[in-house]
């Protein structure tokens, strides 16, 4: 049964369509694995009954010869995607008992394509964090361990439950959301593939908002092909999201295996600061070599405003969050702590309902939008955002794609860094520029550090060039031959 969970969707689908196995058997295998790996705290809710019922439906469709594109795909969903009738808490106490009566567009599309939701995955509260340490439901644990050290490691975040689940074979693929790196960073730390699409490619309808102008849904998978398959079904215009792009979604799998010969890869010098982790630098060089071997031309480029991206991000994202989170007031849904007056109700509910990191960001956001500070902080950050975007535009006049490390370090231990918000914020240093510019990026595992932990590299592309990213990621995937099973002791 375990072998079933090791298959790619392509291989699984072949077996399903040839009827050598059933969707029900597949889902049972995943539910078994989910139970076996419960100590990772990857899932905050499990939908075994619903998943099995859907498996039977999928089997009927296969029997009748009408399988859908993702028939029987065992999917985990980050807990900020609403699904009708299923508790959706976004890692927060304030929504601990919130059950939506509607389903997010992205989940709905995947379900309509035949994917089966196994459960909801843990995340940093309201997606604010890079570790899942800020979750009200406790941290998730990375399936990987450092060599000779049994200490629990963080899976990254905020989509840490999703990445832990995919790496631990308790789901074949997972949905995440990426506001400043929340798909790519945990993917890199767990040795899997994380795709953050162009802003507006996937609908945000039904996703609990963190920072509206940055949030974007994307898939976390064990290989590039599964990523392409999921994204194809997730993407596309949604009239219910005003920022959703009108765009005809291509078949991304067609990009896999295409040659990159003669194509240009930009290496941004700003991503190689003096103190960059030597092992990460080494794997970056290795990746460059693989690309050269495949016939690509490597070009040094500059993204001069990179150093301003992180501070700008930590103004814009909290500003939007401070406003987006105002609706959690204890009046209509979610946690309510009674108070003598309306203000008292607000204060008690929000004091008890939000964790420290969320409160910190609400305070920062409220401050940068306040009268007299707005021009100095928010507007200035928006100007930086434009410069960062311009940097990329100029770079893409010269290169087809940009290659950079996804993270500055490998996974750290549960308990490290939590007291130092700034150290935590620095986790996002390589990922936030992409969100500010609204560009697509994909993180692929390239190898292991000396102590045996995964390292990821990301390709950043021009807007709506996801196909090109899949093309390059696939080349690296082939060259790296990264073995997830080798490291994960499951």
């Amino acid at each position: 049964m375990t072998e079933l969970t090791r298959l790619t969707y392509g291989a699984l689908r072949q077996k399903l369509l040839s009827k050598s196995i059933t969707v029900k058997e597949t889902i049972e295998a995943y539910l078994h694995q989910m139970a076996q790996t419960r100590s990772l705290n990857a899932f905050v809710s499990e939908y075994a009954d619903q998943a099995l019922a859907q498996a039977e439906e999928s089997d009927r469709r296969i029997q009748s010869g009408a399988p859908r594109p993702l028939e029987g795909f065992p999917l985990a969903v980050k807990d900020n995607f609403c699904e009708e009738g299923m508790r959706t808490a976004a890692g927060s106490k304030i929504l601990e008992n919130f059950v939506p009566t509607y389903t997010s567009t992205v989940v709905k599309r995947l379900q309509e394509a035949g994917a089966i939701v196994l459960g909801k995955t843990n995340m940093d509260e309201f997606a604010m964090g890079s570790s899942t340490l800020t979750s009200h439901f406790g941290p998730s644990i990375n399936p990987w361990k450092a060599k000779g050290d049994n200490a629990d490691l963080i899976p990254g975040g905020s989509s840490g439950g999703s990445s832990a689940s995919v790496a631990a074979f308790s789901s074949l693929g997972a949905l995440g959301s990426d506001t400043g790196g929340s798909i790519r960073q945990p993917a890199a730390l767990c040795g899997i593939v994380g795709m953050k699409p162009t802003y507006g490619l996937c609908s945000r309808y039904g996703i609990i908002a963190f920072a509206s102008s940055l949030d974007q849904a994307g898939p976390l998978t064990r290989n590039v092909e599964d990523s392409a398959l999921l994204l194809r079904e997730m993407a596309g215009h949604d009239p219910k999201d005003s920022t959703s792009l009108v765009y005809e979604v291509p078949d991304y799998t067609k990009a896999l295996g295409l040659s990159i010969k003669g194509m240009k890869v930009g290496i941004p010098q700003e991503y190689r600061p003096a103190g960059l982790n030597a092992e990460i630098a080494q794997w970056w060089d290795q990746t460059i070599q693989w690309l050269k071997d495949a016939g690509a031309e490597v070009v040094d480029i500059s993204l001069p405003h990179t150093k301003y991206a992180l501070p700008a991000y930590y103004i814009i994202a909290p500003a939007e969050a401070s406003s987006n989170l105002a609706r959690y007031d204890g009046v209509r849904y979610g946690l309510r702590v009674p108070g003598g007056t309306l203000d008292d109700l607000y204060i008690k509910t929000r004091t008890e309902g939000f964790g420290d990191e969320v409160k910190r960001r609400i305070l920062i956001g409220t401050y940068v939008l306040s009268s007299g500070k707005y021009e100095d902080y928010y507007l200035r950050a928006q100007r930086v955002r434009q410069r960062v975007t311009d940097d990329f535009t100029q770079a893409y006049a010269k290169v087809d794609v940009i290659l950079a490390p996804t993270t500055a370090n490998t996974a750290f231990k549960v308990g490290e860094n939590i007291t130092d918000p700034l150290a935590m914020y620095l986790q996002d240093v390589f990922t936030v520029s992409t969100n500010l510019a609204g560009l697509p990026a994909i993180s692929v595992p390239v190898g292991l550090s000396n102590d045996g932990l995964p390292i990821g590299m990301q390709f950043i592309g021009p807007a709506l060039h996801e196909e090109r990213l899949f093309q390059f990621a696939h080349v690296v995937e082939q060259a790296a031959n990264f073995q997830l099973m080798r490291g994960v002791g499951i």
Partner: protein, 494 residues
């Protein structure tokens, strides 16, 4: 120029008034959700997930509301901004589910314009429009139903409002009231708002200050949420009085927000400038900037309905009406429709201007008097425009005199009968047979030899006496014009 200065023992004061008029945009659904806009619904029956700010819900702009704002801007001679942005105005309140109101703070859809109001001396005054922007309304908090709880009704939450901001160009309560009246009429003509104050679909924040003529403007107080034209006038009068009294006794005006209390006809302080909330406006990241094309604006402009000012001008030009009559006839939506229908049905009148004048006299005279007496609006008139035109046609044909027609009108009002039937039934047909009339005139002259003698010796005024005698004899049915002509002939008047 009307003098609007206020003179007290210490000298003259000038009053400065600016308005922020909030009016509900006429639209089937709300500004950013598909929920219906309706007053006559059970509480919380017209609320979408977006209105209730459920997690993950996103606003989608209702383009009808956008068009209504553009229409209104064009009717107020204003600049339409082809690029505008929705901002969030952040504050906490129980009937504001999102914790912010979506509004347009930095880049409104409509820029500067103007509206001319009529002054008593038949001149007009131009009131500048600063801007018009679209915004969401909040829900309703109900505090007086439950002893310890407040109830929330979100039906109104998310409905579209236009905020029309004037420049501080008004100098008296009358000017402010005239502005709102005229604005309301334009909104109704456009169909961009019902502008019904009773239903709260039009309310105004009134900014008032006073200063000595020739000196800079005084510190202003803002009176919030005044919801009738009469109250606007009362609030201004009270506030002007309060400010002048305070200044004359050596006090100073605080920049503050005040509330108007209709029961005591006074304003009271709500909060000072220092306590004003910091709304932390910023562009709503859930919405894209609104980009309009000039073609879109032009298309709306070409399809604007005739506005009250244009209609009044046309009535004066085409129908030869006086400024006064034309103003009265265009002062609501229904009267000009009724009026023009009457004119169009007056087929027996050769001269259209004569017919139009006659129709105007009857609509503004008899009809308005009867409507007023019975407390009816013109759409409820028991006499339709066609029937009134039939009566006026009978006058035009010489079948009935104007005086008799009034009697017929009264009968029509109560019986609902056709005017011709009433005339036949009551034998009110006008006597227009020249021979018959001549015989009667002869008889009147013979019967009044003394009067005839006096008339012939120079007492011209007695002409009217003979006309009266003819009318008396014929029971008022003699055709007055013919009676005059025959009498003149018999009396050798040249």
């Amino acid at each position: 120029m009307i003098n609007t200065l206020i003179t007290t023992a210490t000298g003259d004061w000038e009053v400065v008034i600016g308005l922020e008029v909030h009016t509900q945009v006429k639209s089937k659904s709300k500004l950013f959700s598909g929920a219906a806009t309706s007053f006559a619904a059970e509480p919380n029956a017209k609320v979408s997930f977006v209105d209730a700010a459920m997690p993950g819900m996103l606003p989608v702009l209702n383009e009808v509301c956008l068009e209504q704002a553009v229409k209104t801007g064009l009717a107020l001679n204003a600049k339409i901004n082809l690029h505008s942005v929705f901002d969030r105005k952040n504050y906490f309140y129980a009937d504001l589910p999102q914790g912010y109101q979506i509004s347009q703070f930095y880049h409104p859809i409509v820029g500067e314009g103007y509206l001319d109001i009529d002054l008593e001396d038949d001149t007009s005054k131009r009131i500048g429009i600063e801007r018009i922007h679209l915004e969401q309304d909040a829900g309703k908090s109900i505090h007086d139903v439950h002893p310890s709880k407040s109830l929330i009704d979100l039906n109104r939450c998310g409905t579209a409002l236009m905020e029309i901001v004037t420049k501080p160009d008004m100098r008296s309560a009358d000017e402010a009231m005239d502005f709102v009246k005229k604005l309301r009429l334009i909104l109704r003509y456009l169909g961009s708002s019902d502008a019904n104050m009773d239903e709260g679909s039009l309310r105004a924040d009134v900014n008032v200050s006073v200063h000595r003529p020739g000196t800079p403007f005084g510190t202003r107080a803002e009176i919030k949420n005044v919801n009738s034209i009469r109250f606007i006038g009362q609030a201004i009068d009270y506030e002007v009085n309060r400010q002048i009294t305070l200044l004359e006794s050596g006090g100073t005006i605080d920049q503050e927000t005040r509330l108007f209390d209709a029961s005591s006809n006074s304003t009271r302080s709500m909060r000072s400038k220092e306590d004003a909330p910091d709304y932390r406006y910023f562009p709503d990241p859930d919405l894209l900037p609104v980009i309009l094309t000039q073609d879109y604006v032009n298309h709306i402009k070409e399809n604007l309905p005739e506005l009250p000012g244009q209609k009044r001008e046309r009535f004066m030009r085409d129908y030869g009406l006086s400024l006064y009559d034309a103003t009265v006839l265009v002062s609501d939506m229904e009267t000009p429709l009724y009026y023009e229908s009457v004119v169009n049905h007056m087929k027996s009148w050769k001269d259209q201007k004569e017919a139009a004048k006659m129709a105007s006299n009857w609509v503004c005279g008899e009809l308005f008097a009867f409507l007023k007496e019975n407390n009816l609006s013109i759409i409820d008139s028991p006499i339709s425009s066609e029937k009134l035109a039939t009566l006026l046609n009978l006058i035009g044909e010489g079948q009935v005199s104007g005086r008799t027609a009034k009697e017929v009108f009264e009968d029509m009002w109560t019986s609902g009968k056709d005017p011709a039937a009433i005339i036949a039934e009551k034998g009110l047909v006008q006597m227009s047979d020249a021979g018959e009339l001549a015989t009667i005139v002869d008889k009147v002259l013979v019967d009044n030899p003394q009067m005839l003698e006096q008339y012939r010796s120079g007492k011209d005024k007695l002409f009217g006496f003979f006309v009266g005698q003819v009318m008396k004899v014929t029971g008022g049915k003699a055709n007055p014009q013919m009676t005059n002509d025959i009498l003149k002939e018999k009396l050798h008047v040249k």
